[in-house]
């Protein structure tokens, strides 16, 4: 039997490729490329109390860019400013296999001499959430976790974060098959989460979105 969780979801977004859908406000943005997505997210911030700078993506790949944009839109959806004391849990089963191949193939094709630093740094699964943390100045705990799809592990980890001193909010990220869901959680609850519930279906249920 799962315990009810002492937190609730205040907003979030799902990015399916370059199509973004926010869960609380039900807004949708479709972009042709990440520059177009950046422009649309910048535009979406017009009536937002805190506008996040999107000058550059610090050489991040498409995944990094999506995390940064989705993190901003999740705050926009919840209509909250980012707070430093935000923890990040990044959950999924893909690890960084694609990025490992990108780095190593590039290194090999260039004569096995020196690789490219930004591709090497991208071989960590924590690079995308950390880039989002840098963009929004989120200084709480942050790590990536894979539990072979056992969803209660994710939800218990969120509860675990809220037991840590100083954590006021948790940003939950789930990346699978080029689809990223970012949810923001704050203390509250109780929140019952049935077995088998992933972040997108939780958002769908909470915000009655079908």
């Amino acid at each position: 039997m799962n315990r009810p969780h002492p937190w609730h979801i205040i907003g979030g977004v799902t990015a399916d490729g370059l199509s973004f859908r926010t869960w609380r406000r039900g807004l949708a943005y479709a972009a042709e490329d990440t520059q177009d997505a950046k422009a649309k997210v910048s535009e979406a911030q017009d009536d937002f109390p805190h506008v996040y700078g999107l000058d550059n993506f610090r050489r991040g790949d498409a995944k990094v860019r999506t995390y940064i944009l989705a993190a901003i839109l999740a705050h926009r959806d919840a209509e909250v400013d980012s707070v430093r004391e935000t923890a990040i849990i990044d959950f999924g089963r893909q690890g960084c296999h694609e990025q490992n191949l990108n780095y190593f193939n590039d290194y090999r094709e260039h004569g096995r001499h020196l690789g490219r630093g930004h591709l090497f740094v991208g071989t960590l699964p924590t690079t995308p959430p950390c880039e989002a943390a840098i963009s929004l100045k989120l200084t709480g705990p942050c790590f990536y976790m894979n539990s072979l799809g056992r969803w209660p592990v994710l939800w218990n980890e969120v509860s675990c974060f809220f037991e840590m001193p100083g954590v006021r909010r948790v940003m939950i990220c789930h990346y699978e098959s080029d689809k990223l869901t970012v949810l923001l959680a704050e203390p509250g609850g109780p929140l019952d989460i049935p077995d088998g519930t992933d972040p997108e279906s939780l958002a769908r249920r909470i915000f009655n979105a079908d």
Binding site: R93, H97, V121, K137, P141, F143, Y144, N146, S159, E163
Partner: protein, 369 residues
Amino acid sequence: MDDRTPVIVDCDLYTAFGPGVEACWNGLLQNHAAFSDCSRFHNEKFSTALAAMAPGADVNGTQEIPGFFLEYLAATAKKMPRDAELFLASTVGEIEYIDNPERRCTCDMLLERALKVCDKENGRIVSAACASSNSAFVSLFRHIRSGRLDSAVVIGTDYVSEFIFSGFATLRALARTIARPYDRNRDGLLLGDAASIVNICSAKKAAELGLKPRAILASGGMSCDAVHITAPMPHGEALSEAIVHALNEAGLTPDDIGAVIGHGTGTRYNDDMELQAIRRVFGERSVPMLSVKGACGHTLAGAGLVEAVVGVRMLETGLIPPQTSLVTPEPEAARYVSAEIRKLEKPRVLCMNSGFGGLNAVIILEAVS
């Protein structure tokens, strides 16, 4: 100690000093550095060929090393029940056979293999760059304290591969001479192999299983610099926050800490940042400090586990190993580090790691009284 106090009941290591905790512990006490020329790949294009390689690990080729390490750790893992949760601390470098599409390993495959070899039902990968081990410990500490878990096996392995070596060379982080953490003339890090394991359970579960606690996992804290993807926060503010969280969690003050095992990679930026974070928290106190990376290299995701095992031995013996390869301490480090063996005056060791992404994770180990 109460029923839900997390206790370490067993541990093991395989490092460049060879198999077993004592091989590494004695190497540290004897001030040995276990580096040699790495011949696992063509190294002539890199600024150094030195690395700390585990003897006997690559007898069947580099790509078999992760499997070899897992097999080694399995004996200790199997001392815990099958339902103990497996925490695999990893940079998720599923990089063995990266040259061979038919045998490449994915993140899922990595965890599935670890579960099978260690004979465990459930597990999770915890990845936070070079702070992966300590992040796993901090998470586990919480789960045991809250009663969500009562036993776990924490393992971490990493090895010197062309993939990792070339990456750190690209970032110009490798030492041209030797790794000298906290030394004025340090010029970078050297990589190392390690396989490490720590079995942890609640005090109540340890009693039920008839396992004797060797040390207490007293607390932990984490933070993120949120400043730069590779460079640490110059003044160590976020790391010091993680240290303060860990101290507060355990109801301790800096005066209660007997020694600090730092991340101490030997790069200028990392060591400077750490020293400033320690100064920020400990003020004028001269808490003894050391880094094991001067002896057995930077073992990446496994680094925190190696340090935790060394911390357990420090608590059990009351000794602090010398700082390997220390010649002239960095002025800011002079009050903390020593080339001599010292006595551990207080029964708590603080271990800290920092990784790319600005990730910081700190744990405090305490002697069993």
